[in-house]
């Protein structure tokens, strides 16, 4: 009936950190299964417009079902590859909750075996970088976006955001939540990242008893 929608604590925090305003425009670049889009709609009191994008038709059923069950009246489901979302529109708020290796879920789901066997993770950072750059290019001046993953791998987190800081006029904003997070890394595996990466947040399951997560709150510099 839409009165309750279960989410991991860290997943629920994503929309709260983004805090889309009423009557604003929002793009959720990788929206299925729709929990964060629905949460945004709730925060926006069903005003404005949410573009809930997901490429795969197989995910549209779960996305549409979640949006309908939650009574979302301000969303359009689009069908683009996130990294190729058309540039004709700009948005006030963008959520780039990108495909990732999902290491943060292993404690919950006990998927360590599949972690070892998981193929394709080598290509994820490249995809994530393309999505984040496209997301930034779709952001209005004065807009705000959130980059998030449910993984620990710095190659999918800090390195991705570091590339954005190098290639675009982007800045990072502090993330203030009421439970334990740790600042993002500024160096790892012989690489050094922009010092502003300390404004990103890492959440670890053993601290918060939820899914591991990474978040970066991003806007245009100046």
């Amino acid at each position: 009936m839409g009165y309750i929608h279960p989410q991991a604590l860290t997943s629920a925090v994503a929309a709260l950190v983004l805090s889309p305003q009423e009557n604003s425009s929002v793009l959720d670049m990788c929206a299925a299964p729709g929990g964060k889009s629905s949460h945004c709609a709730d925060i926006m009191n069903n005003t404005g417009l949410i573009i809930s994008n997901d490429l795969y038709a197989s995910r549209h059923a779960s996305l549409g079902h979640t949006l309908a069950r939650m009574g979302v009246l301000n969303a359009v489901i689009t069908v683009y590859q996130a990294q190729e979302f058309p540039l004709r529109n700009r948005f006030d708020f963008i959520l780039a909750d990108v495909p990732c290796s999902c290491e943060g879920k292993f404690r919950k789901t006990g998927e360590t075996a599949s972690c070892k066997a998981f193929t394709g993770r080598e290509t994820l950072p490249d995809l994530q970088k393309k999505i984040l750059l496209r997301a930034f290019d779709l952001l209005k001046k004065g807009g705000r976006m959130l980059y998030s993953t449910c993984t620990y791998n710095p190659s999918e987190n800090e390195a991705v955001v570091d590339l954005l800081l190098n290639e675009r006029n982007a800045d990072l904003f502090p993330i203030d939540v009421e439970f334990d997070g740790e600042p993002g890394l500024t160096h790892w595996n012989g690489e050094t990242y922009d010092k502003r990466l300390e404004r990103t947040v890492r959440f670890y399951p053993h601290r918060i008893d939820s899914v591991g997560f990474f978040m970066a709150s991003i806007g245009r510099r100046g």
Binding site: M1, L49, I51, L73, N74, I77
Partner: protein, 137 residues
């Protein structure tokens, strides 16, 4: 919606009604709609009505969203009546209503969805996979 349930048209003033095949979708009307109209979309807004035979039936979702504004064709039921409906039994009620859809409410104004009122008996129109399974297990 106004004729059957007494939901004023003004409640829908801020929305657009889009038609696709035999369904109608309700979406918040905003300044952004024209600019996103060229996007490739799988769905826009909430499926609000669908044609069933010669009738246009409101969906459970639109009733759950707007049913609180209804002033008639509302029926408060209790848990025992709900369980009977979920077992696909009909419940007997005494309503001064023409045959047609009624909004089923349980608890403190929690809107479940629709029932179909025909000659003093109501049958369930509630979604099978959700409410029925949840309540019966």
């Amino acid at each position: 919606m106004e004729q059957r349930f007494g939901i004023p048209q003004t409640q829908f003033a801020d929305y657009l009604l889009l038609c696709k095949k035999r369904s109608w979708f309700l979406i918040r009307d905003t300044e952004f709609i024209p600019s996103v109209a060229p996007l490739k979309a799988a769905q826009a807004g909430l499926r609000a009505f669908q044609q069933v035979g010669d009738f246009i039936k409101p969906t459970t979702r639109v009733i759950q969203s707007f049913g609180r504004f209804a002033t008639r064709a509302r029926l408060q039921i209790d848990l025992i009546q709900l369980q009977a409906l979920l077992r696909e039994e009909k419940i007997h009620v005494d309503l001064t209503l023409d045959n047609g859809y009624v909004i089923l409410i349980i608890g403190e104004d929690q809107i479940l969805g629709l029932g179909l009122y025909v000659n003093g008996r109501i049958s369930s129109q509630l979604p099978k996979k959700e409410i029925r399974m949840t309540m019966l297990t």
